[in-house]
Symmetry: C2
Subunit: 248 residues, 2 copies
């Protein structure tokens, strides 16, 4: 077999010539329970583009990578700029770099993140308060499934992030990233149902969770219109999600 | 809480100013059974650098992303340039982009790949034959654990790729990427042992594999110095590895 072998990291390309730029975008998931609704939904914040290409279309929050900034720092920065908040979970999702994904050549390093519900609600109301630092009309939360068509390949990116979320909920305690420190088993089941998009049998769910040994029952109960429900917390000895030996 | 929100994909950065370049590298794993050795080892090809930085150090095969080339095409190209072969499995691993990972600012999109053993042996002997198209002294296969210290952050990258391989072998049929179409249960166990770095009980292994329903027994047997061993093949109805909705 005849092969040719080019230089490996050989010639330094002229940055003025290659024209490839690096952006960082983040898919930020949270839960929202609408008043009167019987189940929670997965929601994500989107940003309305104010210039071409895709002017006025909704897109994932993001920005250009800065020369003095690590990738995960850029993801945290764009996340804070959009939601004003720190995530409970942040992980690199995938690098998207197809030649035709944008009119110019852009490689987007995409992260995904979870923001706890009560926190994202505060953020949404803060954004609604029209303070000087927010251009409120250009950031809004949408249903993760029924959001409008997005700019670039962002529909595909959101679909992939949802797949990762559904996948990960099956073998990690990632659901905790959408819950407060103390929660009932019904709260936890609601998170699973929102992520998986289907109802789960309460008795089966309780049995599986209790057998998993990742939950610690507390002596506290939530009282209200229903009968008191025991509050649980996650055993912090378990990682939120196994991410391998990378130092993040 | 006061937040500032910068422009989102707003100003187009001047490529002459930002100085961030994109490279693609690939961790290519294969198996090697040394003559007389009692177990197989995971090996990978490395390339000796011929210029600064890290001149004469070993590094992962890779190269600059070309403006007209998709990310996975760049990975396949650098893989073919190094081994002369098509992989049985190729997947994006992670984007590495720390500011200090290289003297200049380089974001490396890293892929990992599997090459079947008999194929990588052919490649290695081809490389050893000193044909005109190969700069043989600058490409060599090394043990994936005991290889020499690598340039840049490539030690960390190889460690992460090995973690992904070990992790994936537990829940997918990725081991098939290192086996020929027909194999014995002892062959399959040898792949698992090489990846996991420990001995597996033959009887337990046989039971687990037979219960997994992913293997199809054939009517063929391998004969030789030992008693005849039945040959199996993987059920092609199972994906080599679940990779979500991405069109790769």
């Amino acid at each position: 077999m005849t092969t040719t072998r080019g230089p490996v990291h050989a010639a330094q390309p002229d940055a003025r010539e290659d024209g490839i730029r690096v952006a960082v975008s983040t898919v930020i998931f949270s839960l929202r329970r609408d008043t009167g609704a019987d189940r929670a939904r997965v929601v994500l914040p989107l940003v309305r583009r104010t210039r071409e290409p895709y002017e006025s279309a909704w897109a994932l929050p993001g920005g250009w990578l800065r020369p003095d900034e690590n990738l995960d720092a850029a993801a945290s920065r764009t996340l804070a700029e959009t939601t004003g908040l720190a995530p409970s979970f942040l992980e690199q999702l995938y690098a998207f770099g197809d030649v035709d994904r944008s009119p110019s050549r852009v490689v987007s390093i995409v992260y995904w993140a979870l923001v706890r519900e009560e926190v994202s609600s505060i953020s949404a109301s803060t954004a609604a308060a029209h303070d000087d630092n927010h251009d409120d009309e250009n950031v809004a939360w949408f249903d993760a499934i029924t959001h409008p068509p997005l700019a670039f390949d962002h529909d595909q990116i959101v679909e992939y992030a949802l797949w990762r979320l559904r996948n990960k909920v099956g073998y990690s305690r990632i659901a905790h990233g959408l819950l407060p420190d103390l929660f009932t088993l019904a709260d936890l089941r609601e998170v699973y149902e929102a992520i998986l998009g289907r109802r789960l049998d309460p008795a089966n769910f309780r049995r599986q969770v209790e057998n998993s040994d990742t939950l610690i029952p507390t002596d506290d109960y939530r009282t209200g219109s229903h009968r008191p429900a025991r509050l649980y917390r996650y055993d912090e000895a378990f990682e939120l999600a196994e991410r391998g030996p990378l130092p993040h």
